[in-house]
């Protein structure tokens, strides 16, 4: 292991430990919002694998987040599945969705890819509205009380307890960061970067670019789906907005703000944006106005985002 990689690993582990310890010093309200930030951070991290590392801009990643939300929530609500089973099932279904959508979407490139992912996500969103008898439509469904507490490996897990939810989120975030770290430091990281930088050249060096893109797409969609499943389970609510275009855009926004192509960027973006919204909502309700302005400002003056700029200027070893 090189020195840079070691530093990077230590930094990421330190951040995770810090997040774990934070629960002992912050307020209950902060615990709740930070839980939400972390889950959305996981979603954006999944998006970032595809966008930041592989250079493919999907405008429809909410379809995977939504797939996770519904594949976890619907079996719990309608069939009374146990929470762990529903969670695993949801991850599997997101994986299947990502493979299928990936095979279709990756036949297109650039502009067409962006429009296609946007369209497919919109079809998914409309389907949720259309089957509103099963899905609850835009009103959504609240998970039954029975699913808010369950036994798992001899432990009783109470999802109404804020600290429990927080620790589950930390655990899932840790899994996401570690898996991404291994992936990005390994040969796939090099390959993804090469594809982002120069696809034609990469093909002519003997790489199967399409398979690599599909792999990236699948990992990305599965992580996004896991985040969706976690959201449904932790907060006990599912609704069509989670699959709507706004969530696709938020994943993009968090990633751009924190720094595309850095592992902690999406989490940082999620924390900053959510905090900003909280602060703003005290003075104005125009959250979306700021969302738009920030998107424009980032593309114009700050395309690498926070960690991307830090990486470029001071910490080249940052992953």
């Amino acid at each position: 292991m090189g020195a840079g990689m070691m530093k990077s690993l230590i930094l990421h582990l330190a951040v995770l430990v810090l997040l774990f310890l934070l629960q002992f010093v912050i307020s209950d309200y902060a615990i709740l919002t930070l839980t939400r930030m972390m889950v959305l951070g996981i979603f954006a991290s999944g998006f970032n694998i595809l966008f930041g590392y592989t250079g493919l801009l999907s405008l429809g990643h909410a379809m995977f987040f939504g797939a996770g939300v519904y594949a976890a929530g619907l079996p719990i609500y309608h069939f009374g599945w146990s929470v762990p089973l529903a969670f695993v099932f949801a991850i599997f279904m997101s994986f299947v969705a990502a493979v299928i959508i990936g095979v279709i979407a990756l036949r297109t490139v650039r502009d067409s890819f962006m429009i296609l992912t946007l369209m497919l996500a919109q079809a998914g969103y409309l389907a949720i509205l259309y089957f509103n008898r099963e899905t609850g439509g835009s009103e959504g469904l609240t998970m039954p009380q029975a699913s808010r507490s369950f036994d798992f490996l001899g432990l009783t897990i109470d999802l109404t307890d804020a600290a429990t939810r927080y620790n589950i989120a930390v655990l899932l975030l840790a899994i996401t960061i570690v898996v991404s770290f291994i992936l990005i430091q390994g040969r796939y990281g090099r390959l993804f970067n090469a594809i982002r930088e120069n696809e034609a050249r990469t093909e002519m060096l003997g790489y199967n670019v399409l398979t690599a893109k599909l792999f990236s797409f699948t990992v990305s969609g599965t992580i996004a789906g896991m985040a969706g499943a976690a959201y449904a389970i932790l907060f006990g609510y599912i609704g069509a907005t989670f699959a709507g275009i706004q969530y696709s855009i938020e994943a993009l926004l968090f990633t751009l703000l924190g720094g595309a192509g850095t592992l902690l960027g999406p989490l940082l973006g999620s924390i900053l944006m959510t905090t900003l919204i909280d602060r703003l909502s005290e003075v104005t309700s125009a959250y979306f106005l700021f969302l738009g302005l920030i998107l424009i400002a980032l593309t114009l003056w700050f395309p690498k985002g926070l960690l991307g700029t830090i990486k470029e200027k001071w910490l080249p070893w940052l992953t």
């Binding site: 962006m114 738009g292 302005l293 395309p303």
Partner: protein
């Protein structure tokens, strides 16, 4: 009402939809064709056109027809000006890089939408049609205004066609679309052409919106549907091809109108969205494009 007249009514409604759609979609197609820019804010230009039409029409004294005509002139100009400024301030500076422009136009989408919400409010508001005359058919009465919309769209398409094929401006646009580098080398002010095309594209969406507000009310969230429908049309017609766009707009407008009357509008949208996705994947040059080579 029997099935025949019912289908006739659905077809008429579909044609009205198609008329507005064709103007909006040609705007989007022009921008994509000439500038290679996917303008996600296009639907908001449409919405802005409708809202400005409402402002103009309600503040214009006298006959509703005067207000309407004023709106038909002022609204596209105002929206075009907004688009022109957006292009100058944002898109030129991004050098029209595909990813950056798409992200920036998403930003623009929210900025326009929320600015309208903060000034115009969340209500849906109607605009009076310039005339109310109802045409009596044997089976049902039909608004003459809607027929006017269809006629107006045909006339405007004729104008667009004329501008593109017969004027110096059209030539500049086509030259820029054909080969940007060569156009530059021949001294065509590509940047200026881009800004104007962006403004014209937005203005076309605004015209479509002015025509529709007497039928559908102006609302700050009304932009998403025309955006997605325009994408649908532009993709089916072939990205950047004007003739294909016109043809596809009629096809989609009609089928959307008819499907929505007979089935649920949501289902109609799902079907058309998935259909488009398949076109994009299997016939990336559009449904009507001849195979290359």
């Amino acid at each position: 009402m029997g099935f025949g007249p019912f289908l006739f009514l659905a077809t008429l409604e579909g044609l009205v939809q198609a008329s507005v759609l064709v103007l909006t979609a040609v705007g989007l197609s022009l921008v994509f064709g000439v500038m290679r820019v996917v303008n996600v804010a296009h639907g908001e230009f449409f919405m802005l056109g409708a809202v400005i039409a409402w402002f103009v029409a309600t503040n214009m004294p006298g006959d509703p027809a005067i207000g309407f005509i004023a709106a038909l002139i002022i609204s596209p100009l105002a929206v075009g000006a907004v688009a022109y400024v957006a292009d100058r301030l944002i898109l030129t500076r991004l050098n029209y890089n595909p990813e950056a422009t798409i992200v920036a136009t998403i930003g623009l989408l929210y900025v326009i939408q929320q600015s309208v919400l903060m000034t115009y409010g969340a209500d849906a508001r109607p605009v009076d049609p310039p005339f109310y005359y109802t045409i009596r058919l044997p089976w049902f009465g039909y608004s003459s205004y809607k027929l006017f919309v269809i006629a107006a769209a045909c006339v405007l398409l004729g104008v667009i066609w004329f501008v593109l094929k017969r004027t110096k401006w059209g030539l500049l646009m086509r030259a820029t679309q054909f080969d940007r580098e060569t156009a530059l080398a021949f001294g065509i002010p590509v940047r200026k052409v881009y800004s104007f095309v962006f403004a014209i594209g937005a203005g076309l969406a605004a015209i479509g919106a002015v025509l529709i507000v007497p039928i559908q009310q102006a609302h700050y969230l009304m932009g998403l549907d025309p955006l997605l429908l325009s994408f649908t049309v532009v993709i089916i017609g072939g990205l950047g091809s004007i003739q294909g766009t016109i043809f596809a707009a009629i096809l989609i407008g009609l089928s959307d109108g008819i499907l929505s009357v007979f089935f649920s509008p949501t289902l109609a949208k799902i079907v058309s969205t998935l259909f488009v996705a398949m076109v994009l994947v299997f016939k990336p040059n559009g449904l009507f494009a001849k195979a290359k080579r």
